[in-house]
Symmetry: C2
């Protein structure tokens, strides 16, 4: 089965709804990808992810490359089989974690030279090895190796970094075997350009010219102001081809997702719902809630009265507070279920609003709810 | 609904099968109680416990008394509602944890004076307060406050300690309100006597004379030789009334359970399956297995080829090893599912063997499997 994106509806605001076909099933857009860093979405089973409406999972190449090693996963039949998830998977290139987690030793034309954060082993990630590793893992969508330009970056550095990202993108495309184990593996290119409008335009043009199965907007949510994030997202999305998938990497808050969908973005990933869950921060229809707040000690109500997730149907705020304070694993699990349900539910509401041509009305209601507070 | 134990079958070996009726449902004996220390069996939901064949859950009074407090749980409708488990619950008296976790300051006729291990607050647990706390929690079966005699103990100390346990047992019975929120709450007495045959006999006699809804064998699995554990279990079980439930507290390994059921014990609790799961030690039909062993790095087979649990049906040893080494919560969860399935499955096999009058044959096969090794 080939990789295909059908754009079905575009709302007056510019928000889009479509369908992606992958060898492991279809995905309705716009969608959010829960992050399963080490071949597991923390605390959850694949069945729970399905029940929660997750259509696709993201896993991190850097982590799997270091442990257990892509060779082990390949030998065991690939990442889908390894983690018992038969739906679509996207893997990143590993580049972002090399810069953020590994001890980066040098970055040159060949690639990124770094030391493992686990045991200090010196390693090199190149465009070619990023393809090789991701082919061994066997995801449905893989990402080109890029340099996520640090923020802030002066114009000269941003330009040089962007140009290297373009050369690496070309090498990725050349090295990539589109058919992996008899299945089409899509390769996405990544637009960089820091916060410079002309660089963003140039980068989008260059990456599209190389030609990929989809296009990612990289280098955002790196510490810039919200206004800048919104501006760069809109700008970049607007110059990407209408008929291709647009993926905003590593973003973000519920408000970010709504704003970005309006800007024409189709796909997202972020650790926020899962990481916040473990830290006791829950997303609700009335904004965020910190479950360890003493206010909830004897609160017999659900986290979010408007939520129908397993956690909200079965447990009180008082119990969830108790589990969190007692350090029980079930706390992470129940909170993760709630937060992912919130994120997938938000995406579903957006899809429905787009289909009805009422995204603007949806957005106004969403923002009013958040403003109300818990 | 009252509390009732019907002894249905006794195998030629002495192993017994029966049925307990409680306000929250029936329990087939012999049975094992998973430990939900802080109102949660670590990493699992109540639905998973049911699926795994857990008929009843044990929760620890000491922990709940300290946090969130029995008053909070009572106000929220009791422990069943708080933790969303509608089956039977047993709570211990809190005494054992006062001795093992709290900083014991003094033990006198009134009760145990200790400091909270959480914040050092000075507290006292008396027979009367142990009843009050457990009534507030609202379990189906509660335990009298006893002193778990340390091992080894000289004869004089063991005798004095035992006699105090008897006086406390009487005070518990006097203080206990059998009807809690319109439901019968059973109270069990605990036999002590350290490793002295005459004391064990005397203790069983004294506790039975006071009269309880069931009888526990306490003070074992405290560091003594296996031989002594077996001897004291058999001896004590043999002098307890045939028509009453016999509960061996805090025991033990699969081999311990089989030996104790043969000795006529009906019920067990132990942190072993759940704690070992989190430490990566798994029980299988061929003995124990340490999942972090490098042997399993590329092992595509299940933990236990003879096991039908969710973990064994869906995941490889290689993946479980990866999750454990990566410190993923899903590791604890999948391992706990497997180990509890092993324990509940073992109990079910024993019940079937007793019903068929073939416990001796079952035991021989069980021990042969264990001897084979993984």
């Amino acid at each position: 089965m080939p990789f295909k994106f059908d754009l079905i509806t575009t709302d007056p605001t510019g928000a889009r709804h479509g369908r992606v076909s992958t060898p492991h099933g279809d995905i309705e857009t716009p969608f959010f990808m829960p992050v399963g860093t080490k071949a597991a979405v923390k605390a959850l089973t694949p069945e729970e992810l399905s029940t929660l409406g997750a259509q696709i999972v993201l896993s991190n190449t850097y982590h799997l490359y270091l442990r257990p090693g892509h060779g082990v996963i390949e030998e065991l039949g690939g990442l889908h089989k390894f983690m018992n998830w038969d739906g679509p998977i996207l893997t990143d290139s590993g580049g972002y974690q090399v810069f953020s987690l590994g001890k980066l030793r040098k970055i040159d034309e060949a690639g990124a030279h770094f030391s493992s954060h686990l045991d200090g082993t010196p390693l090199t990630l190149t465009p070619e090895s990023a393809m090789e590793i991701q082919e061994a893992l066997g995801a449905d969508i893989i990402m080109a190796l890029d340099e996520c330009t640090p923020y802030p970056a002066d114009y000269e550095y941003a330009k040089k970094s962007m140009e290297r990202t373009h050369r690496w993108a070309r090498r990725c495309k050349e090295a990539h075997n589109s058919i992996v184990n008899g299945k089409y593996q899509a390769l996405f290119g990544i637009v960089q350009g820091s916060m410079y409008e002309d660089l963003r335009r140039a980068s989008a043009r260059a990456i599209v010219e190389i030609g990929f199965d989809g296009y990612a907007i990289g280098g955002l949510s790196v510490g810039e102001e919200k206004e800048l994030l919104r501006e760069m997202t809109s700008l970049t999305a607007s110059v990407l081809p209408v008929e291709s998938l647009r993926y905003l990497m590593g973003v973000g808050t519920p408000e970010d997702l709504v704003a970005s969908v309006e800007a024409g973005v189709d796909m997202f990933d972020c650790v926020m719902p899962t990481r916040n869950a473990r830290n006791g921060t829950l997303f609700t229809s009335r904004g965020k809630l910190g479950i360890k707040n003493a206010l909830f000690e004897r609160d017999s109500g659900p986290l979010d009265p408007e939520c129908g997730c397993y956690t909200c149907v079965n447990y009180s705020r008082a119990y969830l507070r108790h589990l969190f304070i007692a350090g029980e694993m079930l706390s992470s699990r129940l909170n993760t279920i709630h937060n992912l349900h919130y994120y997938t539910g938000l995406m579903e509401c957006m899809r429905e609003a787009i289909k009805a041509g009422e995204f603007a009305r949806f957005k106004a209601g969403f923002l009013a709810g958040i403003r109300e507070g818990v």
